[in-house]
């Protein structure tokens, strides 16, 4: 298998100004993972856990404070803007808010054509417009001109998100970061967008980093899932394995609290207390210790190592041997 992207010990700290001493939000703290060709890796976590920051560091919208990112065999960490231009086409990103993904003063066609022009795709404007039209028709956004001449505010969220995906896919990227790309959409449109993403994956063999807070969506979309909490990886495993056999208490809680439409109603809750913590100058030990019902002394003093408990299933927890 071809390795598309590898992140090694990535760090992103945000300073908080206070009189006296400096504090840091350790939004991404020593996170390592890799994505193979055509694979969808889910990044699962609650708000403020660092998943969006992780996506932005990888796509070079933010600069990391440490660690390395290898993309198609090149180290792109700390790379400057000009050099990154060579990778832009190969690495694309889709954001959460479809309504805001297009310049409100530009027609859809202009928003679609500009990146192609900048990255030298298509020989002429005419050619590019043809490519766009064909792609639109293939994505069942027909008749294409009905959409292309419009301004973003004239379209619905589902339509915009599909066009937004199209915009990325026209560049034929080998890697795509989808940052909460369905969280603002209604259930009925959400499925269409997810399926479109799956279709792209199978057609272009694009690897996808699928960032989400919804474990049900992650299960539907991903080959592997990485669970993060307060800037740290808690567990990483094959999607089916993670959901059927969660090891980390946090993963167990996430699964237990996730609403379902299955008939067996009276399940046993794996209850935990408290709310998500922001990792501001986090104390030593496991980040989850303050909420973990099983936390022992060691959990508060020593950081747990990643352990491979079965092939491909890694957990960071002191309680698991």
């Amino acid at each position: 298998m071809e390795r598309i992207l590898e992140a090694k010990r990535l760090k992103k700290y945000y300073p908080i100004r206070k009189i006296g001493r400096r504090s840091y939000v350790k939004a991404v703290d020593n996170i390592s993972f890799s994505v193979e060709k055509g694979e969808i890796l889910g990044i699962l976590g609650e708000s403020g856990c660092g998943k969006t920051t992780l996506g932005r560091v990888i796509t070079r919208l933010e600069t990391e404070n440490g660690g390395d990112i290898f993309f198609l065999g090149n180290n792109i960490s700390g790379i400057n803007y000009r050099k990154m231009k060579n990778f832009r086409q190969k690495m694309q990103v889709i954001f959460q808010n479809p309504y805001d993904s297009f310049d409100p003063r530009m027609t859809i066609i202009k928003s679609l054509e500009t990146p192609m022009k900048l990255l030298n795709i298509g020989q002429s404007k005419k050619n590019r417009i043809e490519i766009i039209r064909d792609a639109m028709e293939k994505a069942k956004l027909t008749p294409a001109y009905d959409y292309l001449e419009r301004y973003p505010h004239e379209l619905s969220g589902g339509q915009l998100q599909r066009i937004s995906m199209l915009r990325s896919m026209l560049l034929k990227p080998s890697f795509l970061v989808a940052d909460e790309c369905v969280s603002m959409l209604d259930a009925s449109v959400r499925a269409e967008v997810l399926n479109m993403l799956l279709q792209f994956r199978s057609e272009l063999e694009t690897s996808i980093l699928f960032i989400t807070h919804d474990i049900s969506v992650a299960k539907y979309m991903c080959d592997r899932i990485m669970v993060i909490y307060a800037g740290k990886v808690m567990e990483i495993a094959d999607a089916k394995e993670l959901i059927s056999n969660p090891m980390h208490p946090y993963t167990k809680a996430l699964i237990s609290y996730s609403p379902t439409i299955s008939p067996q109603k009276e399940r046993e809750r794996f209850t935990i207390a408290g709310e998500v913590v922001t990792p501001i100058d986090p104390p030593p030990g496991c980040r989850f210790a303050s909420r973990c019902p099983f936390a022992k002394g060691i959990c508060r003093t020593e950081e747990p190592e990643m352990k491979e408990i079965s092939p491909g299933h890694f957990v960071a927890c002191h309680l698991i041997d």
Partner: protein, 321 residues
């Protein structure tokens, strides 16, 4: 009014007057709610569910027009009450918890001040000391520390604020509470904790509740009945196990099919093509006609009647009751 149910809504219409159009947000909504029910009103954005909640509370903005055949609650007609009578019913009989808890309290007043004002709005002769004791007790029931009373809203997390709002809704022991998307902005675990809390409180206080949500998973977790709304109309109403596990209306069926679920096998989810109809136009036939995959010719021009199958209500030409 002996055989009247606890709450009866019959042919409720709500429209908003805009500059040069009028939006029919709720159309001919009818349903009965029995004492002790937890009714989920589920629908996507634009389905009119939140407008309906405001209509029941008679809290609609001045540009909204409300009309109904019957709107009764606990033997009282709430359609014809004047402002003063309404004021006395609000919170004593029905209270509401809004989605955006962070904005639901004044940012420059302490929580106790606001709680105390709510107390004195209906029972003016309670001294502060007693109110404080009463609130401490109430907060205890919702797992809120009493020190929260002396804090300002911005000092609390989203989950905490939502608890505060629930506590506030309980102050005058109302008979019914409407929860309007109360968990939408919250993380999965916090949402789960809060839903558990709501379930417990409804039992403990002998409440009747309406839970408005876009997530059928949430409905399945807490409700015993569910009303499915689409573009302002009620399409299906009945017990949760009937409506979700053996839906009759094509829309409900599609909605269930578009829901990725953790505990149900890995089948393909499907979206509903098309988008919401323009609510500024009156619809002649079935409101779901343009997106329905099993539509009949009849559906285009003839409004389906409500079919009653025991306690399961459906509005579809294909179902005969």
């Amino acid at each position: 009014m002996l055989n009247m149910p606890f709450m009866r809504l019959k042919k409720v219409d709500i429209s908003y007057k805009l500059e040069n159009a009028s939006v029919k947000a709720v159309r001919s909504f009818s349903c009965d709610i029995e004492k002790g029910d937890i009714v989920g009103i589920v629908g996507e954005s634009g389905s009119g569910k939140s407008t309906l909640a405001l209509g029941i509370m008679r809290l609609l903005p001045p540009n909204a027009l409300l009309s109904a055949e019957i709107m009764s609650f606990d033997g009282k007609n709430i359609l014809n009450l004047n402002q003063d009578e309404l004021r006395r019913i609000r919170w004593k009989e029905i209270s509401i918890v809004f989605q955006k808890a962070m904005n639901a309290l004044s940012p420059v007043h302490k929580i106790f001040t606001q709680m105390y004002d709510v107390i004195t709005a209906h029972s003016s002769d309670i001294p502060k000391g007693r109110a404080y004791k009463m609130l401490t007790e109430l907060f205890g029931k919702i797992n809120l520390p009493s020190k929260v009373l002396n804090m300002y809203p911005h000092e609390l997390s989203g989950g905490m604020m939502q608890r505060v709002m629930i506590a506030m809704s309980l102050i005058h022991n109302p008979k019914m509470i409407i929860f309007d998307e109360v968990t939408t902005a919250l993380d999965v675990i916090t949402q789960g904790q809060l839903l558990d809390e709501i379930k417990r409180l409804v039992k403990e206080f002998g409440l009747t509740a309406i839970i408005i949500t876009h997530d059928i998973g949430v409905v399945n977790e807490v409700c015993n009945k569910v009303a499915v709304m689409y573009a302002g109309e009620l399409l299906e109403y009945g017990r949760v196990k009937d409506v979700i596990f053996s839906p009759l209306h094509p829309y409900t069926k599609a909605l269930v099919k578009s829901h990725p679920d953790l505990r149900i096998g890995n089948e393909l989810i499907k979206g509903i093509p098309g988008s919401l109809p323009d609510l500024t136009y009156p619809s002649k036939g079935c409101i779901f006609y343009p997106r329905c995959d099993v539509r009949l010719d009849l559906c285009k021009d003839v409004k389906p009647k409500i079919s009653v199958l025991g306690d399961h209500i459906v509005k579809c030409h294909r179902i005969q009751g």
